[in-house]
Symmetry: C2
Amino acid sequence: MAAYDFLSVRLFVDSPLGEGRAIALDKTQQNYLGNVLRLKAGERILVFNGRDGEFAAGVTLEGKRLGLSAQAQTRPQTPTPSLRWLFAPLKHARLDYMVQKAVEMGVGTIEPVITRRTQVSRINLERMRANAIEAAEQCGVISVPEVFPERNLAKVIEDWDASAHLVFCDEGAAVADPLATLAAMPQGPIAVLIGPEGGFDEAERQAIMRLASHTRLSLGPRILRADTAAVAALALVQAVHGDWRAA
Amino acid sequence: MAAYDFLSVRLFVDSPLGEGRAIALDKTQQNYLGNVLRLKAGERILVFNGRDGEFAAGVTLEGKRLGLSAQAQTRPQTPTPSLRWLFAPLKHARLDYMVQKAVEMGVGTIEPVITRRTQVSRINLERMRANAIEAAEQCGVISVPEVFPERNLAKVIEDWDASAHLVFCDEGAAVADPLATLAAMPQGPIAVLIGPEGGFDEAERQAIMRLASHTRLSLGPRILRADTAAVAALALVQAVHGDWRAA
């Protein structure tokens, strides 16, 4: 059983959390709790800030102003997952969707990478962060992944930290047992790279494959859209090397 | 390399296909090819009908009427995958999305199941079929999955074909190595069941687990939204038992 209460409302807050602490809410949060969810003073939700763990909190009302008062800690803070997620950003709603999915799948970083066939130039990092928080609220994640500014693929490769092993999801890879491929990887920090619709071009593919520590992963005989490939690849990585093996 | 040309336009047509055959297009198809894609007479696309394989086809123009003329077969028809997909339908766009994802992941059937916590009552089967066709066009699938009318979970269990093994994706299952769980399954036809947001209730869980041939699968320590769970579960099943192991 997923070891937390996933039926309660969960709210990300920026303020420090501790038993008995008052939590101020901004206008958006007050509107969400008061007008959308219609919560009344005394009702209980869960709050987290990505640093202090998850707490129960009671709704408070001072005049017309909704607030929260932290009660007992419900879960200690968990460390941010070491799993890094690099991806060519998609447009609009599908990017929102892809970021939410990656958080559900347990990534620790959200690292947009601009490739030759990437169709998006201007990245809205604040919107990505909002999507990451929304997914964390919904899926019981208490360590919100860090959103990185976009970088060009060439720069990512140039700056690559040799201690991290790159799982390179490549439409051009021959179909081969993905579990055996992943199981053969060295232990250590993992980064998963998902390309744009249309995949990587040959020069990009060659540059990636010059990285000392990489594994080229096939995701089956059908072309997957980038957001599907992200969930599928992360599921395989979590199942072979990640936190899906045991509680 | 995925063994087909995934850069060409691919169009699903209802008419029989064979080298030299003329293919009539309905108004929507003519508008798509002529006005959206701005294809001109003589340009080449790929067509499939789910029965006769995939063919190259040249755009023809009679007066103002766009049509197609089938040329050489580009891929023989593949059998419909035996992998069945049962799921509690979601609302609107997320249902469209989930159906498209399942087709990309290679399911052979699309079987909506009404459970106690399912929030959708009226299912638009034609819309599901349209989404399945769109995904097949985009992802190089040439056998379009069959869309079944919705059934209640109790009826699904009552009518269960004992030869099919049910992979029961259960938020209530203890987190345990999903690959070992899947590898321990008997060989034979597989059906994957994904519940609604909020999961199955206890009575439903018990009823499912009374099926002789079932495997209860955990999808990790985080609660996944139903559409994420569908892609993740299908990725694991394809990797362990399906067509992701070899071309």
